[in-house]
């Protein structure tokens, strides 16, 4: 198995307050890892660090065998290969759905517009939103916006996807549609993914591995099925119990 991402001894603090402490893990191609843990445990910070939206004080991130030299220029190039989807969708309100999707591929990757549009339509069809290419984000529901945001990230042909609590601000009815798309990405396209989520059932279905975070540290790094059935730490056990009622 080829290693896509490796994180070693990663430390991050805001002022003197440590938020990530000695994070070590690696991810193989096609692997789906979910980050679980209570609020404030550093999940979002960790996932944002992996595409350069957060700076870190020490440690190394290695991507496809190459150590990342953390500066703006390098991260800007790398981000084309690391797709990221956020909790609040963050589509550009002044652009149509199609323009949102093709902005990166045409301007950043300088690909031919016709080719990108054709690919965007194929992706829109996959997420059942083909009729919406000329709509503006304001005309879409939260779930639709999030599906478009996923398409926008995929249009860049990323090797790696980061999902940061992408269903956390959706109506319950909308959640399933978005999660299905992510699961299809895992099952059909073998996409390598890191997913921060509070949807435990979903995490259980999709996770090859679970990283359980608490106070900025990885408490557990366990295969998915094993984590949900037999968590190693009492803290993880408590966490899972608190999620069931």
């Amino acid at each position: 198995m080829t290693e896509v991402l490796k994180v070693e001894h990663l430390d991050k603090s805001y002022q003197k307050q440590p938020v990530l402490h000695d994070i070590n893990f690696s991810i193989a191609k096609g692997e789906v890892v979910t980050l679980l843990g209570p609020s404030g445990s550093g999940k979002s910070t960790l996932i944002r660090t992996l595409n350069g939206l957060e700076k870190y004080q020490s440690g190394t991130i290695t991507f496809n065998g190459k150590k990342v030299v953390p500066n703006d220029k390098n991260w800007q190039t790398l981000r084309q290969k690391i797709g990221m989807v956020f909790q609040s969708y963050d589509l550009f309100p002044n652009l149509t759905v199609m323009d949102n999707i093709i902005l990166g591929p045409t301007k950043v990757q300088k690909r031919a517009k016709e080719e990108v549009i054709a690919q965007a339509r194929a992706l829109l069809k996959k997420v059942d939103l083909l009729d919406y290419e000329d709509s503006y984000p304001r005309q879409l529901s939260g779930g639709q916006k999030q599906r478009i945001a996923i398409v926008r990230a995929l249009a860049l042909h990323p090797e790696f996807m980061l999902f940061d609590e992408v269903t956390a601000s959706l109506d319950p009815e909308m959640v399933r549609g978005v999660l299905n798309i992510i699961r299809d990405l895992a099952d059909q396209d073998d996409m390598t993914m890191i997913i921060v989520t509070h949807e435990m059932d979903f995490a259980k279905q999709v996770a090859d591995r679970v990283l359980f975070l608490q106070d900025g540290k990885i408490l557990e790094d366990t295969p998915g099925n094993q984590f949900f059935d037999h968590p190693q730490t009492t803290r993880a056990k408590e966490f899972l119990e608190s999620m069931n009622f």
Binding site: D90, N94, K107
Partner: protein, 219 residues
């Protein structure tokens, strides 16, 4: 109130009215150009120029237009630069308005949500592309209310030109009062003349604000 006096004064007020409009228009366009340039220099943190802009904005925003005009009109000739009263007025208005417009644009750029910038970065946009496709389109829309307020403000500020004897609206009224002492009538015309410019303009600008806001953000 004597309507005959008002009627007789109207041709003179018309000249003043036209001059006020002309000076305002030139001043506003100049201010927008200076303000935009200053805000772009600030946004892209261009070395040296950034410092100059910061100093300019501080001086311009913290001194009254009256004093700026006196300086241009009386101090410049003393060092050998002689310019006409009208040109003094225009330069003074642009000097003042440029910094207000700059603050308006900068406020708009800073008002673009952090999430929007992050999602732009996440699709690989570089700093220039981020500005071109995310920050500027949204930032301009956010700055429209401030720019509109500045436009109204600058038109009203042209009344100060009377101190350097530019025959715009206020100066016309002051002259007529000095000559004929009919202050009630002339001040009445003066107020109406400014209202004719400013009330419709302010309605148009409010409409424009809403249009731009909806066109960009959909609310």
């Amino acid at each position: 109130m004597n309507w005959e006096i008002i009627k007789q004064s109207l041709p003179m007020f018309q000249k003043g009215f036209e001059l006020t409009l002309y000076l305002s228009l030139v001043g506003i366009i100049g201010s927008i150009i200076v303000g935009l340039a200053s805000s772009l220099i600030k946004y892209f943190k261009i070395p040296v120029l950034q410092r100059i802009v910061a100093i300019y904005v501080e001086i311009s925003r913290n001194t009254p237009l009256l004093i700026q005009l006196f300086f241009l009109y009386y101090a410049f000739p003393a060092i050998g630069i002689k310019i006409s009263a009208q040109l003094c007025g225009i330069i003074g208005l642009i000097f003042l308005g440029g910094s207000y417009m700059a603050s308006g644009f900068t406020g708009g750029f800073n008002g673009v949500k952090k999430n929007q910038i992050e999602s732009g970065k996440a699709i690989g946009l570089n700093n220039w592309q981020l500005a071109r496709y995310v920050v500027f389109p949204q930032g301009f829309a956010l700055s429209v209310p401030a720019l509109a307020a500045n436009i109204i403000f600058l038109i009203k500020e042209t009344s100060i030109f009377t101190v350097i004897a530019i025959p715009e609206l206020t100066n016309t009224a002051m002259d007529l009062i000095g000559l004929y002492y009919n202050s009630n009538e002339y001040l009445f015309v003066l107020v109406i003349a400014y209202a004719i410019i400013l009330i419709p303009l302010s309605i148009i600008l409010t409409f424009l604000e809403k249009r731009v806001r909806y066109g960009t953000f959909g609310n």
